[in-house]
C-alpha cells in the first residue's frame, strides 16, 4: 500500500528575537494516521502547531499541510483542517443545534448541508433529547464529543486536537478515543497535541519535542522498547531529563 502524506514538514523553524522556539523539525504524517505531538510546557508544540494550521509564518524551512504550502496557501489550509482544543468551547449560550448551524455556516456549508449534517450528528451522538438545550448545561464529556463532531462538519482532511480528553472521566475518555479511531478509519488524519502521556499511548505514532527539537519519533510500542520502559510517561521522563 502506498503511503499518502497529508503533512510534510522539513527543517521547519520559528525564531522570536534570539530565541529559537522551533528548531529545524522534520516529519511526515500519513492519511488516516493518528499522530501524537508531544512535549513539555514550553517545548515548542504550540508554536509548531500554529505554523501548521496557517496562523503563524515560519522563520525558515518548508511545510505542506493537506497539500497546501504554509507560506503561500495558509487560507486553503484553514479550509481543509478542523481544530478542537480542550479550552476552545462551543458557545455555551447557544443550543446544540444553534452551535452546529453557526459553525456549519462559518465553514461555508449550505443550509441544506447544515440541516442534513446536524441531524446525522445529533443522532450519532445520541443528543436528540438535548438538541434544543443550551450547550452550557451539558456535561463536559458531551461538550467535548459535540465539539469534536463540529470540528469535523466540513469533512476536513486533518483534524487537530489539543489535549482533547483532559479531565474527563475514564469511560467518556474511551468513548472519545473510539470516535477518534472511527474518524481515522475513514481516512481523516488526526493530529493530537498533548502533554498527557496516557493520550500518547493511543496514537499510531508519536513525536516528542524537547527544547524546540524533535528528539524522538516512532510508534509508542517501539519507543517503549527502545527506552526499555513500560509507559510513554517513562519514555518522556527519560527524554526530558536527559
Amino acid at each position: 500500500m502506498k503511503k499518502e502524506n497529508v503533512i510534510e514538514v522539513k527543517n521547519l523553524s520559528k525564531v522570536f528575537g534570539d530565541f529559537t522556539a522551533v528548531n529545524q523539525i522534520s516529519f511526515e504524517v500519513g492519511k488516516g494516521e493518528i499522530f501524537g505531538f508531544l512535549g513539555a510546557n514550553g517545548a515548542g508544540k504550540t508554536t509548531a502547531m500554529k505554523m501548521l494550521i496557517g496562523i503563524s509564518n515560519p522563520s525558515s524551512g518548508q511545510a505542506k499541510v493537506a497539500g497546501f504550502d504554509v507560506y503561500k496557501n495558509a487560507e486553503d489550509i484553514k479550509k481543509n483542517i478542523g481544530y478542537m482544543s480542550q479550552k476552545f468551547a462551543l458557545y455555551d449560550d447557544l443550543t446544540v443545534k444553534e452551535n452546529i448551524t453557526f459553525f456549519g455556516g462559518i465553514y461555508g456549508l449550505s443550509r441544506t448541508e447544515i440541516k442534513e449534517k446536524a441531524e446525522v450528528l445529533i443522532h450519532e451522538l445520541g443528543l436528540q433529547e438535548v438538541a434544543k438545550e443550551l450547550v452550557g448545561s451539558l456535561p463536559l464529556g458531551w461538550k467535548q464529543k459535540l465539539s469534536f463532531s463540529v470540528a469535523l462538519l466540513h469533512a476536513p482532511k486533518i483534524i487537530f486536537l489539543d489535549e482533547p480528553t483532559g479531565g474527563v472521566d475514564p469511560i467518556t475518555r474511551r468513548q472519545f478515543w473510539e470516535m477518534i479511531y472511527k474518524t481515522a478509519n475513514t481516512g481523516t488524519t488526526v493530529f493530537v497535541t498533548t502533554h498527557y502521556m496516557d493520550e500518547a499511548e493511543y496514537c499510531d505514532r508519536v513525536s516528542i519535542m524537547v527544547d524546540g527539537r524533535i528528539e524522538a519519533l516512532d510508534t509508542p510500542k517501539k519507543l517503549k522498547d527502545q527506552f526499555n520502559v513500560k509507559s510513554m510517561n517513562d519514555v518522556f521522563l527519560k527524554l526530558a531529563r536527559g
Binding site: 513539555a40 510546557n41 514550553g42 456535561p139 463536559l140 483532559g166 479531565g167 474527563v168 472521566d169 475514564p170 469511560i171 467518556t172 474511551r174 478515543w177 473510539e178 479511531y181 472511527k182 481515522a184 478509519n185 502533554h195 502521556m197 496516557d198 499511548e201 493511543y202 510508534t219 509508542p220 510500542k221 509507559s231 510513554m232 510517561n233 518522556f236 521522563l237 526530558a240 531529563r241
Partner: protein
C-alpha cells in the same frame, strides 16, 4: 483521625454536588481523592476548608469541627486551590511575605519546611507571580500554603496542566512533606497518580465509589483482563463489542482491555472469532489490571 467526613451532602440548586460522602484520613497519611472534572472534589475541599457549609452531615479537620471551629481550622490547614489564586501583581517574595504575615509568622521561622520547594523559585523572587510559568506558579502556591506550618494540607488538582517532569517532582515533594508529619489530602483526575497515595477514594458524580489502598482496589476487580491488539484498532473495538461473550471492552492505549463474561474462556476461540472479522496480527495476553479498569467497573 486527622480528617473525618460523615455523611456530607451539598447541593447547588438542583445539582447534587456531594451525595452522602463519608471517609477518614489518618494522621500523617497521604490520601488521594481520584475522580474526573465535576465529580465533586472541589466542593468537598471547600467544605473541609470551611469555605462552604454542607447541607447535611458533619466533618472535622485536625480535631476541629468545620462549622463550630472554623477559625481554628483556618489557622491549622494549608489550602492550594485548583485555580492559581495568589496575587499576580505581587512578586514571588511579596506573596510569600504576605501569607506569612497574615498567619502571624515569618518566612524565616518556617523556612525549613518550604526550603526544598522555595529554593527552586527563589532565583525569581523579584518576578511578579503572574509572569511565572505553570510549574513555578505551582511551587509558589505550595510554598504559600505551607508557610504557617499547617497540620493538614489540602491540594486541589495540583498537577492538572503540568507536564510529566514537573508532576513527578511535585509528587516527590509531597512524599517528603508527608515525612515531616503533615497530613495531605490531594485530588487528581490522573488515575496513574493514585498509585502514589497511601489510600485513595474514587469519586464520581458526588458519590464515593470505593476507598482503599491502590493495591487493594486493583485486586477487587472481578475478572481477568486481557490486552488485545490487531492491525486495525477501530475494527478490533467494533468486533469485540459485537462478541456475544464480552464483559467489558475498553480501548487502553495501544491495546484494548477485554474481559470475558464466561468462567471458561478460551483465548483461541476469541482469536478465531477476530480472524473471521478480517483482523490480522492478533495478540491476546493477560493484562495488568489498573486503577482505571476498577474505576470504570465501579462507575458502570
Amino acid at each position: 483521625m486527622s480528617i473525618t467526613v460523615q455523611h456530607i451532602s451539598k447541593s447547588f440548586g438542583t445539582v447534587k454536588a456531594l451525595k452522602d460522602v463519608s471517609f477518614e484520613v489518618k494522621e500523617g497519611e497521604l490520601f488521594g481523592l481520584i475522580g474526573p472534572d465535576g465529580a465533586g472534589k472541589t466542593t468537598l475541599f471547600r467544605v473541609l476548608t470551611t469555605l462552604y457549609l454542607a447541607d447535611e452531615g458533619a466533618a472535622s479537620v485536625a480535631g476541629f469541627d468545620v462549622v463550630k471551629d472554623y477559625k481554628d481550622i483556618r489557622q491549622n490547614v494549608g489550602y492550594m486551590p485548583g485555580k492559581f489564586s495568589l496575587y499576580q501583581d505581587l512578586t514571588v517574595a511579596e506573596n510569600l511575605e504576605f501569607f506569612a504575615t497574615i498567619f502571624g509568622t515569618t518566612i524565616a521561622e518556617n523556612y525549613d519546611l518550604i526550603k526544598e520547594v522555595y529554593v527552586q523559585i527563589e532565583p525569581f523572587k523579584n518576578r511578579k507571580a503572574g509572569d511565572l510559568s505553570g510549574g513555578m506558579k505551582q511551587k509558589l502556591a505550595l510554598s504559600c500554603a505551607l508557610i504557617h506550618k499547617p497540620k493538614v494540607l489540602f491540594l486541589d488538582e495540583p498537577t492538572t496542566g503540568v507536564d510529566p517532569v514537573s508532576r513527578k517532582e511535585f509528587w516527590e515533594m509531597l512524599k517528603r512533606l508527608q515525612q515531616k508529619g503533615i497530613t495531605i489530602l490531594v485530588s487528581t483526575p490522573y488515575m496513574d497518580e493514585a498509585a502514589l497515595c497511601d489510600r485513595i477514594a474514587l469519586i464520581q458524580d458526588g458519590k464515593i465509589l470505593e476507598i482503599d489502598t491502590p493495591e487493594a482496589i486493583v485486586k477487587h476487580y472481578p475478572k481477568t483482563i486481557y490486552d488485545v491488539s490487531a492491525d486495525n484498532m477501530y475494527l478490533l473495538i467494533e468486533s469485540l463489542k459485537a462478541y456475544a461473550y464480552n464483559y467489558s471492552v475498553f480501548p487502553f492505549g495501544e491495546f484494548v482491555h477485554y474481559s470475558d463474561s464466561r468462567d471458561s474462556f478460551r483465548l483461541e476461540e476469541l482469536k478465531g472469532y477476530l480472524e473471521t472479522k478480517g483482523l490480522q496480527e492478533i495478540t491476546i495476553d493477560i493484562a495488568e489490571t489498573t486503577i482505571e479498569d476498577t474505576f470504570m467497573e465501579l462507575a458502570r
